[in-house]
Amino acid sequence: MPTEIPIPTVTQAIFLVMALFTAACGLMVVISRNLFHSALFLVGALFGVAAIFVLLEAEFLAVGQVLVYIGAIATLIVFAIMLTRGMMRGRTSPMNHVSGRGALGALVFFVALLGFLNKVPWPDQAQAIAADETMIAGLGDKFVTTYVVAFEAVGLLLMVALIGAVMLARDR
């Protein structure tokens, strides 16, 4: 008599679908021979991460992830790929000369991580959040009270970084 496979609940099934999608896109980012395909798979992985955030009831973060990561960073990456063409012929391998050792190191790291994760009894259930409690108001409140210094510092960092990026990529 074979052991019965536990049937996942609806939430678990949704998580499994989104996690498989994200993991598959993530793997294809680093394996794909065509650089533009890698960028598109990165967009897919970022969408998957946003879906995971929604599953974790961090909806504002999910929207922020889509707006910033996909809308800004992934778009920047596509722009940079277009501006630095000539490397996407696809005849040669996309891996460099240390890729074998890199793969081995990454695999060892993954196995070690799983070993560590196994040792801790993680919780199976999360505390329920009250249905009418909005996290967004609390988030905005935290940004201007408890974390105001970090908030202002990140704003300054973004401004300086973007000015610097424009200066670096300027046409001379």
Binding site: T11, Q12, A23, V29, V30, L35, S38, A39, L42, A45, V49, I52, F53, L55, L56, E57, A58, L61, V68, Y69, A72, I73, I77, A80, I81, M87, T92, P94, N96, S99, R101, G102, G105, A106, L107, F109, F110, L113, L114, L117, W122, P123, D124, A126, Q127, E133, G138, L139, K142, F143, A150, L157, L158, A161, L162, G164, A165, V166, L168, A169
Partner: protein, 103 residues
């Protein structure tokens, strides 16, 4: 409910993919994409730990994750600007050919 360990395993796998991409790819932009994957994996970890913690109303995990997104945006902008500048000068973004500082 989804056990916390499932989120952590997904984050670990994404981080490993990003690590392999950053180590093993030839194009500098592909290396940067690996770095973005690693940052996203850390974000998944943070938000999962926030959700399964005892102080969910403190929102510390979400705030941290939002800061990571902002810093990742700044870092990606500067990194890509550097890559474009290097391409203009050396006509290549192959990390094996950018070895002026190598011994």
């Amino acid at each position: 409910m989804v056990p916390l360990s499932w989120y952590l395993i997904l984050a670990a796998f994404l981080f490993t993919c990003g690590l392999f991409g950053a180590l093993a790819r030839r194009n500098a932009i592909a290396v940067l994409m690996g770095i973005e994957l690693m940052l996203n994996a850390a974000n998944i970890n943070l938000v999962a730990f926030w959700r399964y913690s005892d102080t969910v109303t403190d929102l510390a995990g979400q705030v941290f994750a939002l800061f990571i997104i902002a810093v990742a945006a700044a870092e990606a902008a500067v990194g890509l600007a550097l890559i474009i500048a290097v391409y203009r000068k050396r006509k290549t973004v192959n990390v094996e050919e950018l070895d002026l500082l190598a011994g």
